[in-house]
C-alpha cells in the first residue's frame, strides 16, 4: 500500500506528468510526419517509390486540421460534457479570418484587377471595402482575428449559456442553432463574405505562392506544430486540477457548485480555448484546401466532427485526433474507390464502431483495464449529462 495520491501532479517533471503512453506515440507520429512528409515530397524525386505526391501533402494537411478541430471538440465534450454541435462555426470563422487575409493578398491580381476590392465585391457592384474588411491585409492582424473572433463568439455565447445554466441537449441544440444562423448569414451576399461562393482563388500567403510545393509543405509542418501545441495545451488543461474540475462538472454539475467552484467560468474558459483551437484549425485549413465557404458552417459538418471524436474515443484527446484522420481518410478513399455506394460503407462503419467499440478506437486499445458491465452507474450519469435524465416525462406530474 503506497498510500493515497502518490501519482498526484507536481511531483514529477511537468512534461512527464503531462503525457501518457499513447500521448508519446501520438507526438512521435505527428513529429515523424512533420519531418518525413515534406522531406519525401521535396527531396525525393517524383518517380521514386518513396516520393510523397503534393496532393497527399495537401490531403494530410487537411486531415491534421480536422484532427485539431476534433481535439478542440474533445476538450469540451470529452472532459466537460459540453456536446457542441456547432464547433464547425469556430472552425469556419477562423477560416474566414484567414480567407480574408488571403483575399486581400490577391491585390490587383483579381479578374477585375481592382486593387482594393475582392472580385466578388466588384462583381456585385460594391464601391468600397466594408469596414470589417479593414486590417485584414496585415498578417498579424489576421492571425489575431483567427483567435479573437472565434474566441469572442465562444465567450459571448458561452457566458450567456453557461450563466443561465443551459446544459445537455439544450446547449447542444443551441450551438447547432448558432452555427445554422451563421450559415444563413454567411450565405447572404449582402454580408460581404462572398455569399455561397465564399472566398477562393488565393494567391499568396506571407508572400509565398500558396500553391507552391514548398509552401504546401510549410503549411503542413505548421499544421503539425499547431496540432502538437494544441495537444499539449489540451493535455495540460485536462491533467491539471482544472481538468479534474471539468470532469467533476461533467459528472455532477450542481455538486461542483456546492464545493464552491464557479461552474460557468470553468466552462467558459474551456469553451473559449476550444473555440480558439478550432479557429486555428480553420485558419490552417483554408490555404491548404483553397476555399472557404458557408457550407463549413453547416450543422452536418459539426456533427461529423463529433463523430470523429466518438469514433476515435471520447475523452482521450489522442483518440479524437485519430478518429478525425481515420474517418476522413476513409471518406477520401471510399469516395474514390466506391463512389456509388460509399455512404453504405461509411454508415456501416459508424454503426459498427458504436456497437463494438463503445469507447472508440483508442478505447479498444486500452480496454482491458476497464471492462464494463451492461449498465454501470457511470453510463447513467452520461445520460443525465445529455439531458436525458429529464427526458423521460411526456407530461409532467401536474400536466
Amino acid at each position: 500500500m503506497s498510500g493515497a495520491g502518490t501519482n498526484s501532479m507536481g511531483r514529477r517533471p511537468l512534461l512527464l506528468s503531462l503525457i501518457d503512453g499513447k500521448g508519446w506515440i501520438f507526438l512521435a507520429v505527428v513529429a515523424a510526419a512533420a519531418v518525413l512528409v515534406p522531406l519525401l515530397n521535396l527531396a525525393v524525386p517524383e518517380g521514386s517509390a518513396f516520393h510523397v505526391p503534393t496532393y497527399v501533402v495537401a490531403l494530410l494537411g487537411k486531415y491534421l486540421c480536422y484532427a485539431l478541430l476534433a481535439l478542440a471538440l474533445d476538450l469540451v465534450w470529452g472532459y466537460c460534457g459540453i456536446l457542441s454541435l456547432g464547433h464547425g462555426a469556430f472552425f469556419a470563422l477562423g477560416g474566414y479570418a484567414m480567407g480574408m487575409y488571403l483575399m486581400r493578398q490577391i491585390g490587383p491580381r483579381g479578374v477585375y484587377a481592382n486593387p482594393l476590392l475582392p472580385d466578388f465585391m466588384v462583381f456585385l457592384n460594391w464601391k468600397e471595402l466594408p469596414w470589417y474588411w479593414h486590417g485584414f491585409d496585415s498578417f498579424p492582424f489576421a492571425a489575431l482575428m483567427v483567435l479573437l473572433v472565434p474566441g469572442l463568439l465562444a465567450l459571448v455565447f458561452g457566458w450567456l449559456a453557461f450563466r443561465s445554466r443551459v446544459t445537455g441537449v439544450y446547449l447542444s441544440i443551441m450551438t447547432q442553432a448558432m452555427t445554422f444562423a451563421l450559415l444563413l448569414a454567411f450565405f447572404r451576399n449582402d454580408m460581404g463574405f462572398g455569399g455561397n461562393n465564399g472566398l477562393t482563388d488565393f494567391k499568396d500567403i506571407l508572400g509565398f505562392n500558396v500553391q507552391a510545393q514548398t509552401t504546401r509543405c510549410a503549411l503542413f509542418v505548421a499544421t503539425a506544430i499547431a496540432l502538437v501545441l494544441g495537444y499539449l495545451v489540451a493535455r495540460y488543461m485536462v491533467t491539471s486540477t482544472y481538468g479534474k474540475v471539468l470532469v467533476a462538472i461533467r459528472d455532477a454539475e450542481s455538486r461542483t457548485r456546492f464545493l464552491g467552484y464557479r461552474v460557468e467560468t470553468y466552462k467558459v474558459v474551456a469553451f473559449v480555448v476550444s473555440a480558439m483551437m478550432a479557429g486555428v484549425a480553420g485558419a490552417l485549413y483554408v490555404p491548404q484546401v483553397g476555399i472557404i465557404n458557408p457550407s463549413e458552417f453547416s450543422p452536418a459538418n459539426s456533427i461529423e466532427a463529433v463523430i470523429w471524436v466518438a469514433v476515435g474515443g471520447r475523452g482521450t484527446l489522442v483518440g479524437a485526433a485519430l478518429g478525425a484522420v481515420l474517418v476522413n481518410f476513409g471518406k477520401t478513399y471510399l469516395t474514390g474507390a466506391l463512389p456509388e455506394i460509399w455512404l453504405f460503407a461509411l454508415g456501416l462503419l459508424f454503426v459498427v464502431v458504436t456497437l463494438f467499440l463503445p469507447k472508440g478506437i483508442v478505447g479498444l486499445l486500452t480496454q482491458k483495464r476497464q471492462q464494463r458491465q451492461e449498465i454501470s452507474p457511470r453510463d447513467e450519469s452520461l445520460a443525465a449529462e445529455a439531458g436525458i435524465g429529464e427526458a423521460g416525462a411526456v407530461e409532467g406530474g401536474k400536466a
Binding site: S240, R255, G260
Partner: protein
C-alpha cells in the same frame, strides 16, 4: 430586514422563512438560530422540510420570503451556490452525490479547501496539493484502501463515507450534514457521532438524522421540525418526551 446587533454573533440566522412548491408549503415561517461553534441536531417527520431548509441555506432553493443570514451579516438569499460554499458553508447531501468518474482520492482533492478559480486550478497551488492531506482524510473515513478506485464503483455506504470525507476536506465554518449515518452499522454510527463531536469543537454543525441513538450520542440541542416550522426545541430527553413529537415523529 437587517437582524439586530445581538445576532451578529450567530453563525446562522433564519427568520420567517417560507417556501411553497406548487401550492404546497414545505417551509412555513421557519425561525432558527445557530451560535458560533454550536452543534445542532434537527429531527422531524419525513417531509418536514429539513432538506429543504438546507437547500435554502446553501442557495439551491430561493425562499419565497424570510431572512437567511450567515455570520450575522451576510444575506444568503442573494447569493448563488458557489459563493455560499466559498463563504464557508459545506454540505453533505441526503442522497450521496460524488464525482463518479473520479477516483476516491480525486474526489477528496477537489473538495480540499483552497482557491476555487480556474486560474489557480490551471496554474496555481491547486496542482501542488500535498498527498498527506488527502491521505489523512481518507484514513478518517476508512476509504484509504479504496483511494484508487472510481467513486462509481463504491457501495452505497462507501459513498456516504466519501461524501463525509469531502465535507471534511472542505473544512467549512458551517457544516450541514443530511442523514450521515443512513446505511451505516451501529458501530460506524457511534464512530460518526464521535467524529462530528470532534469537529464541532471548532466548527458549527447542523445534523439531520432519524437515528435517535445517534442523535443522543451527539449530545447537543435538538430542534424538531414539523410541517415546515419548529415544533419543539431542547435537549434530546426533553423533546423525546414531548407528546406532539411522539405523536408525529417517534411513535409509540
Amino acid at each position: 430586514m437587517i437582524p439586530d446587533r445581538g445576532l451578529t454573533n450567530t453563525v446562522l440566522y433564519l427568520d420567517g422563512v417560507s417556501k411553497t412548491f406548487d401550492g404546497f408549503r414545505a417551509i412555513n415561517n421557519l425561525a432558527l438560530t445557530l451560535e458560533h461553534g454550536e452543534m445542532r441536531a434537527i429531527i422531524g417527520p419525513n417531509g418536514a422540510g429539513k432538506t429543504t431548509m438546507m437547500d435554502i441555506i446553501t442557495g439551491k432553493t430561493k425562499p419565497d420570503e424570510g431572512d437567511v443570514y450567515f455570520d450575522g451579516t451576510t444575506d444568503l438569499t442573494t447569493l448563488d451556490e458557489a459563493s455560499i460554499a466559498n463563504l464557508g458553508i459545506g454540505r453533505k447531501f441526503q442522497k450521496p452525490t460524488v464525482f463518479e468518474s473520479h477516483t476516491v482520492a480525486d474526489n477528496i482533492r477537489l473538495a480540499l479547501k483552497d482557491e476555487r478559480g480556474p486560474w489557480s486550478a490551471l496554474f496555481g497551488a491547486r496542482n501542488r496539493i500535498a498527498p498527506e492531506r488527502i491521505e489523512h482524510i481518507l484514513e478518517i473515513v476508512r476509504l484509504i484502501d479504496h483511494h484508487e478506485r472510481l467513486a462509481a464503483d463504491l457501495s452505497h455506504g462507501q459513498k456516504q463515507w466519501l461524501e463525509i470525507g469531502m465535507l471534511l476536506a472542505q473544512d467549512p465554518k458551517l457544516l450541514l450534514v443530511d442523514e450521515p449515518v443512513a446505511g451505516m452499522t451501529d458501530a460506524e454510527t457511534a464512530d460518526t457521532a464521535r467524529l462530528l463531536r470532534e469537529i464541532a469543537r471548532d466548527h458549527s454543525v447542523v445534523v439531520v438524522e432519524h437515528d435517535m441513538a445517534f442523535v443522543r450520542d451527539l449530545d447537543c440541542k435538538v430542534t424538531v421540525l414539523h410541517e415546515g416550522s419548529v415544533l419543539a426545541e431542547g435537549t434530546i430527553d426533553a423533546v423525546s418526551s414531548n407528546e406532539r413529537v411522539i405523536e408525529v415523529y417517534l411513535g409509540r
